[in-house]
Amino acid sequence: MPTTQPPGPVPSGESPLSGEPLPAHEPLLSVEDLHLSIAGRDRAGAERTVHALDGVSLRLAPGEALGLVGESGSGKTMTALSVLGLLPPGARVTSGRVLLEGTDLAAAPDQVLRRIRGEAVGVVFQDPLSSLNPTMTIGAQVAEPLLLHRGVSRAEARERAVETLRLVGLGQPGERMRNYPHQLSGGMRQRVAIAMALVCEPKLLIADEPTTALDVTTQHQILELIGELRERLGMALILVSHDLGVIARRVDRVAVMYAGKVAEQAPVARLFTSPRHRYTQALFDALPERAAGTSRPLATIPGLPPSLTRRPAGCRFAPRCAYATDVCRTEEPAPRPADDEGVHTYACFHPADPAARPAAPGEARPAEDAPASPGTDADVLLDLDDVRREYPLHSSPFTRRRDRRLVSAVAGVSLTVRRGETFGIVGESGCGKSTLGRLAVGMEKPTGGSVRFEGDDLATLDRAHLRAHRRRVQLMFQDSYAAMDPRMRVGAILREPLVVQGVGDRAAQEERVRGLLDEVGLERGAVHRYPHEFSGGQRQRLGLARALALAPSLVVADEPVSALDVSVQAQILNLMRDLQREKGLSYLFISHDLAVVRYLADRVGVMYLGSLVETGPAAEVFARPLHPYTRGLLETADSAVVDSAGETAVDGAPEAGPAEGAGPLAGETPSAADPPSGCRFRTRCPLATELCATTPPEPTAPAGEGHLVRCHFPLVPVAGSAG
């Protein structure tokens, strides 16, 4: 493959894309040995160059769907955006070609690229709010590509825009045309963004993390929509994602990227069932889904991806790879075929043996890893009883008291956390789970109900007792960086809880800090550094260390791993689990990620719009959900476990046969300022009746003690069919 080649001739006048249709075996897009570097400055202002892509080659047939997966910084987005030359400032293709139907876009002048953008290739970006112009109506924005490329009249463009908005499933498109982006919900905005990308019926759609900013249920709807539209319009798709679950069900082929290179490429089923590159294999093993319910520690990948300011020698994964040998550290592995057809290639000297299948979930459970035995009821640490929290909505001196509207963030939640157990709270954004966490640690006061800790009602504690209580419960923040004073060194940050509580003298405190660093696996020298010098994973370790400084009995962890890449996430989850065993800690673990909660939690609570709709033992709830919302959530979640036939084994899905009212969730969560009457889920529930609209359901336990559900029509398995 030539690394450099003069740019292909560009026929003047006529678009190179309007020629004869290419033969079917010709690729629509072919990326050949692409090198890309980004010139920039580091924090101190010194110049540096990041070699973001180093010899990336990909091919995409017309109508084909390719998934690009990788962790942050792997170059997946850069690869996708280089197709259209939409690179960030300072980024430059240093060599290689990007051939779209024979035209080299890497070398094409701006006019050629402009003709292709929005016409032959459409793009959907990650954040639908910031990606839309806030001061332009969505109608004008959707119609824009037509005016640019098709030379149609305004009226025609408008008509086509309405049509396209209808196609992407936006209700009342005619009226919506006059709306501004901020008037739409996140899911609707992403539909608009898709309409904008598709309005000229492109041959290729590039979707760059299109659902990362969205909730699980909305994510599912958007991915389904993209899949549907792809079939309908016969276009090719490049789906970029960090989430293996998202990729699993939506594409034909997958390319796994690592540190600016393609590590492995294969048809989706092949890749998921028999990965060959050691990185791909390790990535799959680090998924919490793989270890869910097994009490096994997750397989982790130690360390971090290399910094790309220098071109690393040898295989880029070698420093983190358990199988690396001298050859890996000195020579760069070339892509090699895994089969005769050449559809599966990988770049690894010591590939995984496809015959030796990794241990299936549930196998080989070492005796020492027996499930942590949750204590009995006598050992209740935290007890929330009918806790409510309301916030006033735009209050001002001009609002009359009775007109004041309230946002009901938490509406009567009762739960208990016992000594030594992990209670997981799952729910979508805005369901009130973070508020619940803040109430549990006493950062906020409930507007109703009580929060008790070891029998003490927090509301009745006086100042001194409340201060003493702080030692018993600590919070682990989602963004540990924001939770650490940027002007303090790590030593001072970790010592602060001890200083505040007056524990020991300075020498004892410093000794304790060293002990904490040992426990969370950081070097003792870290005390002299500032928080910004640490990576995301290391900061979460620091956050955990600080939370443990006062030896609390309960740690409330609010989305502690949601900002981390899969491999680092596994490190933190393992650490949390190990420390729990050592110290007999309890966790109230809050997350939107079902797989993570399922991996870590002994018992779970599912939250929807401020209320806890279902609680019970984790295995029970995930296997036999009783609430239609829980079931919908489980069916909606994209799993990264694929069987050999290429079908995703619905790993998270219930065992019970399809019950009435099952299926992925439609619609969007209503506003907490104006929650539905009766059961809050009824507006999205397929089983809802009059009763649901009038009477809020009380918790019942139709499937046995300990598994509670708030539903008038719980999904109890039909007698006889349940296993």
């Binding site: 360390g303 358990a322 020298g525």
Partner: protein, 309 residues
């Protein structure tokens, strides 16, 4: 899974995650890094050099070039630059222009520095109180600053200056009494924002009190904003001195400052005594620009050390 494969699954210490490659030695303190970033900003360095030069000129210059700035000498009045050994000529009252520039600069710089610092200090305390307590305290304190800010500063200054007999300390107080408003508003916003930072929440959850929040977290994090603002305040105060003098509300002669020098020069524009106008005017421009450059550089320097990567 093979026995060999089990190795990587043991949790590894994060040894493989060094953020930098210089080991785990103590990193230089924030002050040193701030200085390093400041020094890399060429305009800021230029500003600092300019300021040093102007200070030396005004305060050390008279030692090299002593002149009589008290007694008038009408024999030597209005000499053009170079005449009779007067490098920059003389004023209408016969003062040596170069010497007067040094003399006037002392007043401008002293009053500007003192008024700027005083205004920042008072404004900071006022804004911090409003921002930290919030609620009604904040509403009342801030409406007062809003109202005072609504009256254009120069009008307010002139009214206040017209009520008093100007002297150096009085001038400092008068200018500070108007100039504290904008730092008050700025610091109040900063205090409001810092109060709700996660690291303050985290500290409260450890059982720490309001005192620790203010002195350990809020104040140290607001210091950068305060210092940057003080620099701009000084620049503004120097301008205010000049404006007041220009409007005839300054310390009476034989004292002088750059503004009053300009003001007296204006009478002679018709006859083309340009040396009465350009030296003091340019001096004001230089010193104000120098402070602005320094402020800009400091802002970058303080920003940088908080950035995430």
């Amino acid at each position: 899974m093979t026995a060999e494969a089990a190795t990587p699954t043991t949790p590894q210490p994060a040894a493989g995650e060094p953020a930098d490659d210089d080991g785990m030695d103590a990193t230089p303190g924030l002050a040193r890094r701030t200085l390093a970033v400041f020094a890399r900003n060429r305009l800021a360095l230029l500003g600092a050099c300019l300021l040093a030069a102007l200070l030396a000129f005004c305060f050390l210059g008279p030692l090299v070039h002593p002149t009589d700035q008290v007694h008038t000498d009408l024999d030597q009045a209005s000499l053009a630059p170079g005449e009779a050994g007067h490098l920059l000529g003389t004023t209408d009252l016969g003062y040596d222009m170069l010497g007067r520039l040094m003399h006037g600069g002392q007043t401008s710089l002293e009053v500007g520095l003192a008024a700027g610092l005083l205004a920042t200090l008072f404004g900071t305390v006022y804004g911090a109180v409003a921002g930290y307590f919030g609620g009604w305290v904040d509403a009342v304190l801030m409406r007062v600053t809003d109202a005072a800010l609504a009256i254009p500063a120069l009008f307010l200054l002139v009214v206040v200056a017209a009520m008093v007999t100007p002297s150096k300390p009085v001038l400092i107080l008068v200018i500070a009494s108007v100039a504290w408003l904008s730092p008050a508003r700025l610091i109040r916003g900063e205090a409001l924002a810092l109060r709700s930072r996660d690291y303050v929440h985290a500290m409260r959850l450890m059982g720490g009190g309001g005192g620790r929040a203010v002195f350990r977290h809020i104040v140290p994090n607001a210091v950068g904003t305060m210092i940057v603002n003080a620099t701009f305040q000084i620049a503004d105060a120097i301008l205010y001195v000049a404006y007041l003098s220009f409007l005839g509300l300054s310390i009476p002669p034989p004292a002088a400052d750059w503004g009053s020098m300009l003001s007296s020069g204006i009478t002679y524009t018709q006859v083309g005594y340009w040396w009465l106008i350009f030296p003091p005017g340019l001096a004001i421009v230089l010193v104000v620009a120098a402070f602005n450059f320094i402020g800009d550089g400091l802002r970058d320097a303080f920003d940088v050390r908080l950035q995430k990567n």
